[in-house]
Symmetry: C2
Subunit: 587 residues, 2 copies
């Protein structure tokens, strides 16, 4: 070893010890006759001190060290006169007796500090330097800790980690696959998995009983902000279980992670909110329940009183923002602008405020009596000082806009504290989704998701009404994971395919492989998959998954550090028997 200790472990108890440290020069200061160097490694920072009087040569040598030089220093641990109590090593320093430069460094293109002067592009290009910054490094260490604790919990619960293949087969449905041309079988391709869904179900058929994997998955999507073409899933499946068994098992995983990673304990079970309720109370299937401000439907209460906007609307709903009655015209105008953004799609905003005396003032006073308005205040549970925000329009769209407004109000009121965690289960998702364009139902989850037994009777008469044994884990308004109980009997599976408009032949062609396996004694089973990047980001108090991936790609699916994708040699194309179309090359 080049060191006896790390830069993060020496304290007053080590005073007088002769030690050797190795690390990077974080900072260097000359104060009259003394030179101080902050030496940094993964574990912390330790101050090195050089005295011009006692050893001028050594001190001169120290003064020549540049930022990010790699050095090895030997010396004696001593108490500091000027203590820094913010860091564990802040009470000591090393009186250096020998220092060797292990490597020099060019001046880094940005400062290696928590608040760096480097822009996003530059930091990504020099990601290996960006990763030296303490905050970025601690994100990656958090991810490591999450991964170990996920495995510790699941291993302890009898799950078997099985690696499923990466070179698999392209499937026609779903998102776009990345494909890999075969050299041995020219003209044929592998595909990279979007998820190990098929394989984990096969492992249940194989009798593995409880499976998990922390696994890279791939989706060739048009990239939106903070999507990655390769991402990591915690993928799990269990046999001989009902929905409750899965929710309990993985609520246990979430509790384990909160405890081990954040030191947090949650009293009582996580709330379980049916999908329909989540939509009507929060306007979303991933409600942020760190705060209340639920949506109240007012449709019946406000209709027929002469205000055309409400009279004509299929749906009217409101949220009540506590203590916001005093908001200015300008502030309310900002909210109106917010809901009118194209991505929110609201027409406008009606407000009503509950005055200190309990009376209600509103922007539509002329249409509604004091009693009408008092009734609205009552329905929305508003007290003196609260601001009621009302929207009208088509049900689904208006609920969604109210949901967005609810989040925006919470943001403005500081109710979305990233150190507060509010996990919940959303359950009873619809089994099917109607698509107007193709005029057919699609599986909301996938075609192997089991309908709720009590809803099977509607499968042929009213498919939209059928709910599924499908569930999502939501934390702070973000979907962390989701899954379902799978269909394991051939009759229900046939019914499902009929409902989706597949002939038996089509079903066989697309899913034949799994259907064949199911003929050999598939057990009842179900599972869940979590977005590991996302979950880690949330645990790190961030929305940005890229900060929790060591070497992420940018929004163009490009790794700017290694400059990929890139062209390959003609020999490689020849071996694969592939030609790149000229038109594309010229683009």
């Amino acid at each position: 070893m080049y060191r006896t200790h790390t830069c993060g472990e020496l304290t007053l108890g080590d005073s007088g010890k002769k030690v050797t440290l190795a690390g990077w020069v974080q900072r260097s200061r000359d104060l009259g006759g003394m030179t101080f160097i902050d030496l940094r490694d993964r574990y912390g920072i330790t101050q090195l001190v050089f005295n011009m009087e006692t050893d001028p040569d050594l001190c001169q040598k120290a003064r020549k060290l540049g930022r990010e030089f790699v050095v090895q220093a030997e010396g004696i641990v001593a108490e500091r006169s000027n203590k820094n109590l913010k860091i564990p090593t802040g009470e000591i320093e090393i009186i250096v007796e020998r220092i060797d430069v292990l490597n020099t460094s060019d001046t880094p293109p940005f400062t290696i500090e928590e608040n760096t002067d480097g822009g996003d592009e530059l930091r990504m290009k020099y990601r290996y330097l960006d990763l030296r910054r303490q905050n970025v490094r601690s994100n990656i260490i958090l991810r490591h800790k999450m991964a170990q604790e996920v495995r510790r919990y699941l291993d302890g619960q009898g799950f078997i980690e099985v690696e499923t293949p990466v070179l698999i087969k392209s499937t026609p449905e779903g998102a776009r696959d990345f494909v890999v041309p075969s050299r041995i079988h020219n003209g044929e391709f592998y595909a990279l998995p979007q998820s190990p869904q098929t394989f984990k179900q096969l492992l249940m058929v194989a009798g593995f009983d409880k499976y998990f994997q922390i696994v890279k998955c791939f989706r060739d999507e048009d990239l939106r902000a903070d999507r990655q073409p390769e991402f990591t899933q915690i993928d799990c499946e269990m046999s001989y279980i009902h929905q409750d068994d899965i929710l309990n098992m993985f609520e246990g995983l979430a509790r384990h992670l909160f405890l081990e990673v954040k030191g947090l304990v949650f009293e009582g079970p996580f709330p379980r909110i049916p999908y329909d309720e989540a939509m009507s109370l929060y306007g979303t299937d991933k409600p942020d329940i760190r705060f209340d401000m639920r949506i109240t439907e007012l449709t019946k209460a406000v209709k027929g009183l002469g205000f055309a906007l409400f009279d004509d609307a299929p749906y009217v709903g409101a949220i009540s923002a506590p203590g916001c009655a005093g908001w200015s015209r300008k502030q309310i105008d900002e909210l109106t602008e917010f809901v009118r953004r194209p991505q929110i799609g609201g027409k406008g905003l009606v407000w009503a405020r509950v005055e200190a005396d309990g009376s209600v003032k509103s922007s539509v006073d002329k249409y509604y009596t004091a009693d009408d308005l008092a009734n609205i205040a009552l329905m929305t549970g508003s007290d003196a000082g609260d601001l009621i925000l009302i929207m009208a329009g088509p049900g689904e769209k208006t609920l969604s806009a109210l949901g967005e407004l609810r989040l925006e109000m919470a943001r403005r009121l500081g109710l979305r504290d990233s150190s507060v965690y509010a996990p919940l289960w959303v359950v009873d998702f619809p089994l099917l989704e109607w698509d107007d364009e193709t005029q057919r139902y699609y599986a909301k989850h996938h075609p192997f998701t089991a309908p709720k037994p009590e809803d099977i009777k509607y499968m042929e008469t009213d498919p939209g009404r059928v709910h599924a044994n499908a569930y999502d884990l939501v934390i702070n308004g973000t979907e962390i994971g989701g899954g379902s109980i799978r269909i394991h009997d051939p009759e229900t599976q046939s019914l499902m395919f009929r409902t989706l408009g597949f002939t038996a032949e089509e079903a066989q062609k697309q899913f034949g492989f799994l259907l064949n396996a199911f003929r050999y004694g598939a057990p009842p089973h179900g599972g869940i998959a979590f977005g590991f990047d996302r979950w880690t980001a949330i645990m790190g108090g961030s929305d940005t998954i890229r900060d929790f991936i060591a070497f992420p790609k940018n929004n163009q699916a490009r790794d700017v550090m290694i400059d990929t994708p890139s062209t390959i040699k003609q020999e490689q194309l020849d071996e694969l028997a592939l030609d790149i179309r000229k038109k594309a090359q010229q683009e």
Copy 2:
């Protein structure tokens, strides 16, 4: 849950309990008035019993259950009259009161037994049924256990698990890359990593200090038996260390795995054998030291005595097989045939045997005196009853052939017991390998491997003589892993490139990316990578990695279960702007 207990846990202590089990029908027997069913799950087998007298309907129902039907059975735990002490549940049975068929099964294409009647192709096609067999399942469970223990050890030693990207850049040197066409950047490609070598070195530059990952790697090679296009590595790197630190750390990992997975403890450190010694004593850089029978060089001792074969040979060497003096002519002929196989490449075999009275008889008696032969016996350490096998020819080739003969003799003598483990380190590999065809030196490991400091002086004058700080872990004659200390200073790196015949421009073009990173303060570092499939197979007492991979590919790189690689849709090719050459399609 569909069960109160698994099929592997009920014992006499549970007698009288009412339980519910779920699993697969392994076997069913009708004995007069009784029907017995072996119910199987991942955890074991439990006997269900049905009595025609007490409940004829239930018994009739049980008799109709086919092999691999999935059933749920409720009943009372009772002591068996006819105990099976080979399995933990063999002292009890369940007197069934209710049985439900959860799923039926077609007759499986082969028997789900340890010794199945299914051939290799068939079992691979129905791998999900093959995985139901207890021996195959326990291989995969062993792999799970290995993976958890690898992580437990390395996490405990302060290693951080970091996921490196799968979509990386194609590199010109080394084995062939699998490539992934980019849809967003037409004409450009990602490549799948052959190893995370570059990224782990970057993580050291980034200050991660100790990194590991259990990671899929990809190599598009022409497949030899038991090679897989995708395979799994335990990939590790450390900073501020010397070679000894790495060997000690990973010897610790090996000891941890042997203890936790096999219950084995090794006294004393693993032997560390220099490469040159391994080659001269065992004829290979991966010696199997479960047995002795080392090679003795006889070149000087046998020359100049008139036997042309030896006189003309650059090298003569021998092994001495204990207790084989009595081997028949036929047996020795078999050995001669063995060494003459093209893959061994020996010309023939000379033998000498030490008789009970200490005299030596040999196939070349006419050229050598009794004293000459006695001397050979002495040199090879042979005692009465031993058989000396001598080969002659070019040094390297003959040593290699003697090495193979040594393994073959051990096989015949039953000295290669797969339940015995003999780990060792081979160290001090040559830094460079001369290639006759291209008339240049190549890096034996990779161009970032550090030469041994004491050999740097030969770098320009006699490069073949330079040894590296490179090492392999070998168990039972199989290389389990290997690594090296890396070059971290620019001067040694330039020297290395000059020795490999690279101009500065060429070096920059091929390795510029890593060289740039090294300019910003690279710490001294080194690492190792283990073949996880191979190591698991060895721990499972097998040579065949395919048996330890849940869903392997065949020797044509094809997954016969999901039938991939396969053709993709024209739309997919269009989006990628790729054309498949017609000639290739017709092949």
